[in-house]
């Protein structure tokens, strides 16, 4: 069901990624999914020493390699993009890589989302109307990371709700999402459901509620997302 149209600016993908990057703590080991999550690395202060994991078998991604000017062959992230490793990076096979994931060794994972529910359930691998979709490593990463953050647009293309009471698309993992960063809000999830903590500049709590199917509790510390 589409949400009512609100004629206010939504944050571009880069600013969602920038806000997520500020959430990362010094020394965190972090897995980034494809899409908006993948942009988080570009906005993470190198001084934090955050180490990024690619589930195809690389711990320690430095930056992208320019296609056509490959410096290091066969060095890719999980989106099949050529990357450079950091000094001190570590390579492993898929079984070891997912032992890191499943074993709870990642401090944070940031994934995209199609639906996030008030009980922390995540659906992010099969779009409605499609019979075949790839789950990749999302189910393992969502179940295994100590903190799971979702970075996504608040509403689907036609305005459909993505912040929902219960997921209706096939689930990736249940009860795992801790925080959601969207183009209009930052929400956390606890035993009582969504808590609205931050809004995009110019947006009110009522505006964000109107774009969400699930009921949002409003934090007493509600403030604008800091984009400075």
């Amino acid at each position: 069901m589409p949400a009512p149209v609100i004629a206010k600016d939504r944050l571009p993908r880069e600013l969602i990624a920038m806000r997520v990057a500020r959430e990362l703590q010094p020394g965190d080991f972090v897995n980034l999914g494809i899409g908006i999550p993948n942009l988080v690395a570009d906005f993470t202060d190198p001084a934090k020493g955050v180490i990024f994991h690619a589930e195809n078998g690389l711990l320690g991604i430095a930056r992208a390699q320019e296609v056509g000017k490959i410096e290091v062959p066969d060095m890719m992230n999980a989106g099949n993009q050529p990357v450079m490793p950091i000094e001190g990076a570590w390579l492993m096979d898929s079984a070891e890589s997912f032992a890191i994931v499943r074993g709870g060794h990642l401090d944070v994972a940031v994934l995209g989302g199609l639906q996030v529910a008030a009980n922390g359930d995540l659906a992010n691998w099969l779009r409605p109307g499609r019979a075949v979709g790839g789950v990749g490593g999302a189910a393992d990463i969502a179940a295994g990371a100590r903190q799971l953050y979702i970075a996504m647009e608040h509403n689907a293309g036609e305005g459909d709700f993505k912040i929902v009471n219960r997921c209706t698309y096939p689930l990736t993992a249940v009860g795992v999402v801790k925080k959601v960063f969207t183009d209009i809000a930052v929400l956390s999830i606890d035993a009582d459901g969504f808590l609205l903590e931050e809004v995009a500049p110019g947006w009110t709590a009522e505006d964000v509620q109107s774009q969400s199917e699930a009921r949002l509790r409003v934090s007493p510390d509600l403030h604008e997302i800091d984009l400075s």
Binding site: N80, S94, A131, D140, V174
Partner: protein
């Protein structure tokens, strides 16, 4: 010494794959760590049918030819694919022939979370018939599977995979079959090599035993049964 047979061509190395075989294909994607020559030989120089493919993606790769960039094992010969990315080719502008085959029932799709797939292979090579994992609990990946609680958390039981053949790609082999992979091309290759009854290694370089230092060997030759050299 257990010198491994070196085949002159990929087609000869895969020639005995029979109808009904389960084939694991290594690497991560159509462009990373996939044994292109071996998989293409199965696609073009084998008539084996009723095959089951195990891999991160579908049995499809790049030819390197701009005119005709994709090759794939015809779905009419493939009864089942066990993978985590069943639609990789079509998303990159390639043919969506497998998406069609999965939808019309020509080929059965068993969609498996990537880490569960890796562990099912690792378990197969390590003598572990089944294991419990938190991945997939409460989702369609748990359907039909035994569920148990350990220390207050729910887990589902997953079974090991025992492929008949593994097609793996390494940068370098020595004549004992010890393998060295380059960078992230490693991926699914080592657990598949260990899990399969017959592992065929496609390598760019073949060297004498000792030329890969023991502590740089990533797949020991005990898991490798055949070698074919294909220049990169």
């Amino acid at each position: 010494m257990a010198i491994r047979p070196v085949y002159a061509t990929a087609a000869e190395a895969i020639a005995d794959i029979p109808d009904g075989a389960m084939i694991a294909m290594g690497g991560f994607s159509a462009t990373l760590g996939l044994p292109q020559a071996l998989l293409r030989a199965v696609a073009e120089h084998s008539s084996a049918k009723d095959l089951t493919f195990v891999g991160n993606g579908i049995p499809q790769g790049f030819t390197g030819d701009a005119e005709n960039p994709w090759y794939f094992v015809d779905p009419s010969r493939v009864s089942k694919v066990i993978c985590s990315f069943p639609a990789g080719g079509s998303r990159r502008g390639g043919p969506n022939i497998y998406e069609t085959a999965f939808t019309d029932g020509t080929t059965e799709l068993e969609l498996v979370p990537q880490g569960t797939l890796a562990e099912r292979l690792r378990a197969g090579g390590a003598g572990i018939p089944a294991f419990f994992t938190p991945t997939g609990v409460g989702t369609r990946f748990a359907e039909g599977k035994e569920e148990r609680e350990f220390d207050g958390r729910r887990y589902i039981m997953e079974r090991a995979l025992y492929p008949d053949y593994a097609l793996v790609k390494a940068l370098r082999a020595d004549k004992l079959g010890n393998l060295y992979y380059r960078n992230t091309a490693r991926a699914f290759n080592p657990p598949m090599a260990a899990a399969a009854k017959c592992t065929i290694a496609e390598v760019e370089e073949l060297v004498e035993p000792g030329e890969i230092a023991p502590d740089l060997i990533m797949t020991p030759g005990i898991y490798v049964h055949r070698i074919v050299v294909v220049k990169g």
